[in-house]
C-alpha cells in the first residue's frame, strides 16, 4: 500500500510518477479508497463511493500506460465529483432528500471529458442540498448531514461544494470537481485550506449538471495547488453545443508565474473595522506583502459603483425558483433539510418580470464596467473570506462573521474567473485564503499569480491535523 504522503502530492507530481510507471494507478486508487475508508466517517465528504468503477478505470489506465498510450496529465489520477454532476448508473442526489435515488442514463459532459482524459472516479461528493439555491441556514442542510472541516471537525467546510473541499483537504483524492453559482468553489477552498478555480462562465460545459441558475452556474476544479487546478481545467474545458451557454473559445494559454511579477495588480481593502477577524486580516496583508517582496506592484483599488449584489440576488432567486418549480408543485421541497426552503418560492414571487429584466440590464452595465476594470488591471486580489469556518451545527447568523461580498457578486454576475489559494492561518488555526480574480477567459493570469504566490510560500503544502493523527 502506498503511504499517505503520496496522497498529499500535487496532481502534477503524481502524474509524473504514474506516467513514469513509478506508481501504479491501481495502487494509487486503492490508497485513496483505503484513506476514505479510514477517515470519511469523520468527515462525511462522500455521498456515494464507486470502488468497482474506480478500480476498473485504474486498471484500464494501467494497461494503457504500460502499452505506451498517454492520455495526458490526469491519466490514472483519482478524483471525486460533486454530487450534482450526472454519472451514468450511479445515483446523483443533488444533496437533497427528494432526489435521493435519482439515476441518469448518461454521464455529464465534464465526467465524460475526465474519463477521456484517463481520470479515475472514486465517488460522488457531498454538497449542500440543491447547492443552497432554496436557502439554508446551517452546514448540515444536506442529505448526508454536514461535511466536517479536516482542520477542525467541529467546524464547517463551507458550501455548497462541501465534500469537494473536505475530500481534497484531507487528501482523500488529489482533486475534486465543485460548482459555483455564488461562492461555492471559492468559500470551501478557503475554509478547507486548498486551492480552487472558478472558471469563466461558459468555459466548462454544464450539460448533465444540476441547474440552479443557468446564467450563473460554473463547474470548476478544487485541488492542492493553483497549478493543479489549471491541469484539471485543461481536461474539463471546451465548447459543448449541448450546453446553450457554452463559450466557443479556444483554451487559454498556460500560466506563466514569472510573467505574473509584471502584472498590474489591484487589491481591495475590506472594512476590517466593521467585519471579519483580525488574524485573517493579518494573513491577507502578509500575503500582499509577500507578493510585493517578490516584485509584484500592488495598488489599492475599488470596484465600480454598481449594485452587483442586488442584481445577482434577483437573478439567482428567479432562476433557482424556476429551476425547482416542480419541487414546489409536488410538495417535494418540504422534504428538504431546511424547513424554510419552501417559502423561497413564495418570497420569489415578489420579483416582477420587469425587475428581472432590469437586473439583467444592470448586469450589462456591470459586465462593461468589469471589462473596463480588467483593461486597467490584470488581476484583483481580495480575501476569500473575512472570517474562518464557523461551527457546522449552528445557525450562521449566530456567528457574527457575515460581511458583504461585492467582489464575489461582481465575479459571478459577470462570469469572471477566480482562484483561491491558502495564505495562512487565523488565531483559531483555521485557514485563510487570498482570492485572485481576472478578466473573462483570462484564467491563466489568476493561476499565474497563484503559482507565483505558491512558489514563495508553503501554505498550500500544510496538512490538516486530522490526517497526521490518523
Amino acid at each position: 500500500m502506498l503511504s499517505d504522503d503520496i496522497l498529499f502530492k500535487p496532481v502534477g507530481d503524481l502524474s509524473k510518477l504514474v506516467r513514469a510507471r513509478q506508481i501504479s494507478p491501481v495502487e494509487l486508487t486503492r490508497a485513496c479508497l483505503d484513506r476514505i475508508d479510514r477517515l470519511d466517517s469523520s468527515l462525511h465528504a462522500f455521498v456515494t463511493l464507486t470502488p468497482d468503477l474506480a478500480l476498473e478505470q485504474a486498471r484500464q489506465a494501467e494497461r494503457e500506460i504500460a502499452s505506451g498510450r498517454d492520455r495526458g496529465a490526469l491519466h490514472g489520477i483519482p478524483y471525486g465529483a460533486k454530487d450534482l454532476v450526472a454519472t451514468k448508473g450511479i445515483r446523483t442526489t443533488w444533496g437533497a432528500k427528494p432526489y435521493e435515488h435519482q439515476l441518469f442514463a448518461e454521464d455529464a459532459t465534464v465526467v465524460r471529458r475526465l474519463r477521456d482524459a484517463g481520470a479515475v472516479l472514486v465517488g460522488k461528493l457531498a454538497m449542500i442540498e440543491l447547492a443552497g439555491g432554496l436557502d439554508y441556514a446551517r452546514g448540515d442542510a444536506s442529505l448526508t448531514g454536514a461535511a466536517h472541516n479536516p482542520w477542525n471537525l467541529k467546524r464547517w467546510t463551507c458550501g455548497s461544494s462541501s465534500g469537494s473541499g473536505a475530500a481534497v483537504s484531507a487528501a482523500l483524492v488529489p482533486f475534486a470537481i465543485g460548482s459555483e453559482t455564488w461562492g461555492s468553489i471559492i468559500c470551501p477552498s478557503t475554509y478547507c485550506g486548498i486551492s480552487g478555480l472558478r472558471p469563466t462562465f461558459g468555459r466548462v460545459s454544464r450539460r448533465g449538471a444540476m441547474a440552479l441558475s443557468w446564467s450563473l452556474d460554473k463547474l470548476g476544479p478544487m485541488a492542492r495547488s493553483a497549478r493543479d487546478c489549471e491541469i484539471v481545467l485543461r481536461a474539463m474545458e471546451g465548447h459543448d453545443p449541448e450546453d446553450q451557454y457554452s463559450a466557443d473559445e479556444p483554451p487559454g494559454p498556460q500560466s506563466d508565474p514569472a510573467a505574473a511579477r509584471r502584472f498590474r495588480a489591484g487589491f481591495l481593502k475590506p472594512d476590517w473595522d466593521k467585519y471579519g477577524d483580525k488574524s485573517v486580516r493579518r494573513a491577507f496583508e502578509k500575503a500582499l506583502a509577500d507578493l510585493e517582496a517578490a516584485g509584484l506592484r500592488l495598488e489599492e483599488t475599488k470596484l465600480p459603483d454598481l449594485p452587483f449584489e442586488s442584481a445577482t440576488l434577483a437573478i439567482l432567486y428567479s432562476e433557482a425558483c424556476s429551476a425547482f418549480e416542480e419541487l414546489e408543485r409536488s410538495g417535494g421541497a418540504r422534504q428538504l433539510a431546511t424547513p424554510t426552503a419552501f417559502q423561497s418560492f413564495i418570497i420569489a414571487r415578489a420579483i416582477r418580470g420587469s425587475d428581472l429584466v432590469k437586473a439583467q440590464r444592470i448586469r450589462t452595465l456591470c459586465q462593461r464596467a468589469m471589462a473596463d476594470f480588467f483593461g486597467r488591471h490584470d488581476v484583483l486580489l481580495f480575501p476569500g473570506d473575512l472570517s474562518t469556518a464557523p461551527p457546522w451545527d449552528k445557525d450562521f447568523s449566530e456567528g457574527g462573521g457575515g460581511a458583504p461580498d461585492p467582489a464575489g457578486a461582481a465575479g459571478n454576475l459577470c462570469g469572471l474567473p477566480a482562484v483561491a489559494v491558502p495564505c495562512g492561518f487565523a488565531d483559531d488555526q483555521l485557514p485563510a485564503s487570498l482570492t485572485i480574480m481576472s478578466g473573462a477567459f483570462e484564467e491563466a493570469k489568476a493561476v499565474a499569480l497563484g503559482r507565483l504566490f505558491q512558489g514563495i510560500t508553503s501554505w498550500h503544502t500544510k496538512r490538516p491535523p486530522l490526517t497526521t493523527a490518523a
Binding site: 449542500i128 447547492a131 443552497g132 439555491g133 436557502d135 439554508y136 441556514a137 458550501g159 453559482t181 455564488w182 461562492g183 461555492s184 468559500c187 440552479l212 446564467s215 481591495l268 475590506p270 472594512d271 466593521k274 467585519y275 475599488k302 470596484l303 465600480p304 459603483d305 454598481l306 449594485p307 452587483f308 449584489e309 442586488s310 442584481a311 440576488l313 439567482l316 433557482a320 424547513p339 424554510t340 417559502q343 423561497s344 413564495i346 418570497i347 420569489a348 415578489a350 425587475d355 429584466v357 432590469k358 440590464r361 444592470i362 448586469r363 450589462t364 452595465l365 464596467a369 445557525d395 450562521f396 447568523s397 457574527g400 457575515g402 460581511a403 458583504p404 461580498d405 461585492p406 467582489a407
Partner: protein, 115 residues
C-alpha cells in the same frame, strides 16, 4: 451557492445594503445610482455607531412567517430577514436609473431550422 452574507449582516449590524456597498465603491461609472440609495449610503456612517436594530418586517414577511405553525421563532425570523433582504435588493434595482439603450445581458438569437 454559499450562505447569504447580507442576511447575516443585516441581522447583526442592521446596516443597509447600500451602506455595505458604499464601503467598497467609488462614484458611478455608467449607470446612475438612485438618490435614495445614495442617501442611504451617505447616512450609513452615522448608523454604524448605533446599536443593531432589526428592520420592520414587511406585510409579506409577516404573512410568510405566520404560515408555518411548525417553524421555530428563529426560522420565522429568518424568513422575515430573507424577505427584507430581497425587498431591499428590489428597491435598489427599481430605483437604479438606466438609459433606454442598455439591453438585458442575455442574448436572444434566432435558431436556424434543424434539418
Amino acid at each position: 451557492m454559499k450562505l447569504s452574507r447580507r442576511s447575516i449582516n443585516r441581522l447583526i449590524f442592521g446596516a443597509p445594503v447600500a451602506a455595505a456597498a458604499a464601503a467598497v465603491v467609488p462614484s458611478a461609472l455608467i449607470g446612475i445610482r438612485p438618490a435614495a440609495a445614495q442617501a442611504a449610503a451617505e447616512a450609513a456612517p452615522a448608523e454604524e455607531t448605533k446599536p443593531a436594530v432589526a428592520p420592520e418586517p414587511s406585510p409579506l414577511a409577516r404573512f410568510l412567517s405566520k404560515q408555518e405553525a411548525d417553524l421555530s421563532s428563529e426560522e420565522r425570523a429568518r424568513i422575515r430577514r430573507k424577505v427584507t433582504d430581497l425587498e431591499q435588493s428590489l428597491s435598489e434595482i427599481r430605483a437604479f436609473k438606466l438609459d433606454n439603450s442598455v439591453p438585458p445581458s442575455g442574448t436572444f438569437r434566432a435558431l436556424r431550422a434543424r434539418r
